[in-house]
């Protein structure tokens, strides 16, 4: 089984993010970067699926500047087999990313593509869906599982996305508003993953050393025939409004009154 997994370089959510005074973007100076946490869950799931269905291969792909090779290396250090960087400096919108991935996938012909459901930088939550459309493949978004993250299955690193016996489809349990639903998706397919699917492993030192010798191929969007000119225009970036101070009410009656007339929640 050949599994392709995407990994994006994003701002570390623990860094203090400030908006540029002119409102064009955020201040990137002094900000730490890391792999998108949702993508790390996708990598973990890919590794579990691979190990449960040998022989298999996991390819980690990133679209971004040359610095994104760091995130590919971190996926290789977790255990992925090889990496591909579609090198493009500057901001690339989700649509361009999806079209780059489409070309890589047409070349690599994986059976399954695993992706984070969204990246924690801009939280678009569209790349997986766009990619499925461009490829004409089936998709299952927000993959999750019934077992808790403290369960024995999780500790035993059992995959939550399950390959059918005939290897022609995967069973995906996905988060929906009212709970969980189970889908069967024909391969090849796109599966995007949610937070409760697994706990990603830490890169072990032996795997960090092995990762150094794993190949990372660099591709140019132009050579792939993809025009990455953004279709999305950023008009303005602004910080979320500061939270207003709370108020004290004298008694329950006043509280109910406020909830009813001001907050309009009851």
């Amino acid at each position: 089984m050949k599994i392709l997994v995407t990994i994006k370089r994003v701002e570390d959510y623990e860094s203090k993010i400030k908006v540029k005074p002119d409102g064009t973007w955020i201040v990137t100076d002094g900000v730490n970067y890391r792999a998108n946490p949702f993508d790390e869950i996708a990598v973990e799931e890919a590794l579990r699926l691979r190990d449960a269905n040998m022989p298999s291969e996991v390819i980690a792909v990133s679209v971004g500047s040359e610095l994104s090779v760091n995130e590919i290396r971190s996926a290789l250090a977790m255990g992925a087999d090889k990496g591909i960087l579609v090198k493009q400096a500057g901001w690339v919108d989700s649509d361009a990313v999806a079209r780059c991935l489409q070309k890589v996938i047409e070349r690599e012909k994986p059976d399954l593509v695993l992706m984070g459901k969204q990246a924690v930088d801009v939280d678009d939550n569209v790349t997986g869906q766009l990619l499925a459309e461009y490829l004409g493949w089936g998709q299952a978004t927000f993959a999750s599982k019934h077992e808790s993250l403290e369960s024995a299955e999780e500790k035993a690193k059992k995959p939550g996305v399950k390959l059918a016996a005939d290897k022609a489809s995967v069973e995906v349990i996905r988060e929906i508003d009212g709970g969980l639903e189970t889908l069967s998706v024909k391969l090849p397919a796109i599966v995007t993953v949610d937070l409760r699917l697994n706990v990603p492993r830490y890169a072990s030192l032996p795997n960090i050393m092995k990762a150094k010798k794993k190949p990372v191929e660099e591709l140019d969007p132009k050579a792939l025939g993809v025009d990455v000119t953004p279709k999305v225009k950023v008009l303005k970036v602004e910080p979320p409004p500061a939270r207003a101070a709370g108020i004290k009410v004298p008694d329950v009656a006043a509280l109910v009154q406020k909830l009813h007339s001001d907050a309009k929640v009851i």
Binding site: V27, D29, N70, R73, S74, S204, L205, K212
Partner: protein
């Protein structure tokens, strides 16, 4: 806010701005490594420490190990934590590749361990002890011991301990009494009692391997009669594990490190405890001391880690606890301000920062010298690094431990009355910290080691090299300083203190030469303090210099780098000046405490 345990930027600053960690990769032994492997390894250690070890810290402090039916049971969370640490590869991180390790520089392994220790020192302790014990077999054991025991310890299947102390032989290891009786089959029969054996029994791994000191029957009294043995809890005979007559006699109740059992062990109650000689007979203490620099460096790193975890708790509390109003505000109806708004609270925070970051830099510098001493290809550079490492080790062990205790007390102080309760973790860090001035050689022993062995023992060669290093840092500071950064006045201050240390050392040497050895050694603990204050000031001057050089190039790091300058300034204003009075005290030979006897001490 979750405790970050260490400030990552500071750790990276020490590793890369101050010490240029990647430069170690020029050595063939570290050629497989680079910034990339260092960063990935530290990232994994940080995650493990924050996400797994730290959440188990308080439960392990509260629910302590107990002895049940001859078996010590530890906190159930430990099994999972042990597997995670083993999986990450921390036990054999720095072990040679041909033995399954990854030849990671000690510098990185110490920094990674610092995070684990800050997260949960008891959990990390099991791993550190195992590495130390396996390393002894690696250095001195025969092929069978390496195959049967060391390999399984490095793989994390079994754990290890250091079984040195006996009720009558603590600091004075030459007085161990445990007996080793030779047998025709080649093994020895061990009998005797050991105390304070950390990790001496547990139910995490199926076997525990003790590296024990014992005296072969008929061996001479004193140091030369002590040998090193491998004494497993279960011995491996033809592939089967057999009980080896190591009885757990009790678990000590202790002040801190409560997740790691300290036990009394009885070897050979039934006369069936097999021990295997490690290295040469009669060289047990010498073999043990080969590991001592490493063990003492780890104590320094642990002390730094404990102080850092406490500091971050106090910083978070200071930012969120409203109490009182600014001095200028008299109106009781205005809201209270977070206590970090009070100057004295900021003083307590900055003082902790000065101690912790100074200690961190000291441990890192010592670890880098350890890497160079072991793996430099140029014999001169190798020898130089070894001299510097030997010289700095007593300070690396003691300064973080002694000042770390003060630092933990300041963290607790910031919590006010709440700090005295177990509702908040400040009290547990203070308890944990105390061990570090005691184990692996007390502060008193370190003072004697520094003055008697490391400074006087080699005729001052090590101290001369260190003084040259300091002179270089002083030059660099003068070159980098400008109107905004008062580096040159700091440089001058340090120059004076080093001259003072030199003069003090000369005077003590004179005393020694004239036959007054007691007079030379009387103030060895004070000498260690003076030396340590200068070493820390040297590191702060270098950090301030690097910060000044970097501000222009990386303006976004401005507040972070200015913080380094402020802390250096604080340290030079408050602590470096103390070397003058300590120096005067040492030179005066003040002997009130030494001559006080009997009732005068009551």
């Amino acid at each position: 806010m979750a405790n970050p345990l260490f400030d990552d930027r500071t750790v990276d600053f020490v590793l890369h701005d101050l010490l240029d960690a990647s430069s170690l990769c020029r050595l063939p032994h570290f050629a497989e490594h680079g910034r990339e492997t260092f960063d990935l390894y530290l990232t994994s250690c940080r995650k493990l420490a924050r996400e797994q070890l730290f959440p188990a810290y308080r439960p392990m402090d509260t629910d302590t190990p107990r002895l049940e039916g001859g078996q010590v049971r530890v906190h159930p969370a430990m099994r999972e934590l042990w597997s995670r640490m083993v999986e990450l590869g921390i036990i054999n991180a720095s072990t040679p590749m041909e033995l399954g390790g990854q030849q990671l520089p000690a510098l990185l392994s110490v920094m990674g361990n610092a995070y684990l220790m800050a997260g949960n020192l008891s959990a990390a302790g099991y791993a550190g002890l195992t590495t130390g014990a396996a390393h002894l077999i690696e250095e001195f054991g025969d092929e069978r011991l390496k195959r049967d025991y060391m390999a399984r310890m490095y793989a994390g299947d079994w754990a290890g301990t250091m079984a040195l102390t006996e009720p009558q032989a603590g600091s004075s290891l030459a007085d161990v009494r445990t007996r080793a009786t030779p047998t025709a089959e080649g093994h020895y029969l061990i009998s005797g009692n050991k105390v304070f054996i950390s990790g001496g029994d547990q139910d995490i791994t199926e076997n525990v391997v003790h590296l024990a000191l014992a005296r072969i029957d008929g061996a001479p009294a004193g140091t030369k009669g002590v040998s090193l043995f491998c004494v497993p809890k279960r011995r491996l005979i033809n592939g089967t594990l057999i009980d080896n007559d190591c009885a757990s006699a009790g678990v000590f109740h202790k002040l801190g490190w409560r997740g790691l059992p300290s036990i009394a062990l009885n070897f050979g109650e039934r006369g069936d405890c097999h021990g295997y000689l490690v290295g040469e007979a009669g060289r047990g203490l010498a073999h043990m001391f080969v590991m001592m620099n490493g063990a003492r460096l780890m104590v320094g790193a642990t002390a730094t880690a404990t102080a850092s975890a406490a500091f971050h708790e106090s910083l978070d509390y200071a930012r969120t606890r409203p109490q009182g109003r600014p001095l200028a505000v008299r109106d009781p109806l205005t809201p209270q301000v977070p206590i970090i708004e009070h100057a004295d609270v900021r003083r307590m925070l900055l003082r902790q920062k000065a101690i912790i970051e100074g200690s961190l830099a000291l441990c890192a510098q010592a670890a880098k010298w350890a890497d160079e001493a072991a793996h430099e290809t140029d014999p001169e550079a190798k020898k130089r690094a070894q001299l510097l490492l030997d010289l700095i080790t007593p300070a690396t062990k003691t300064f973080p431990a002694e000042k770390g205790f003060e630092s933990c007390a300041l963290a607790l102080q910031i919590f006010g009355g709440y700090g005295y309760t177990s509702e908040y973790p400040a009290e547990s860090y203070l308890r944990d910290q105390k061990l570090n001035t005691l184990h692996e050689g007390t502060t008193g022993i370190q003072g004697m080691d520094l003055l008697g062995r490391k400074v006087m023992g080699d005729g001052g060669a090590g101290l001369q090299i260190l003084s040259a290093e300091i002179a270089q840092a002083i030059e660099a500071a003068r070159a980098a300083g400008d109107a905004q950064a008062p580096l040159s006045s700091l440089a001058t201050q340090l120059e004076q203190a080093v001259a003072d240390l030199g003069a003090t050392t000369m005077e003590l040497a004179q005393r020694g030469i004239s036959g007054d050895r007691l007079g030379m050694m009387r103030h060895s603990t004070d000498y260690l303090e003076m030396f340590s204050l200068i070493a820390i000031s040297w590191l702060w001057l270098r950090m301030a210099t690097r910060a000044t050089q970097s501000i222009a190039a990386t303006p976004a790091r401005g507040p972070f780098l200015r913080g380094k300058l402020k802390t250096a300034q604080y340290w030079f204003a408050t602590d470096l000046p103390r070397t003058a009075s300590i120096g005067a005290l040492i030179r005066s030979g003040e002997e009130s405490f030494d001559s006080a006897r009997g009732e005068e001490l009551e």
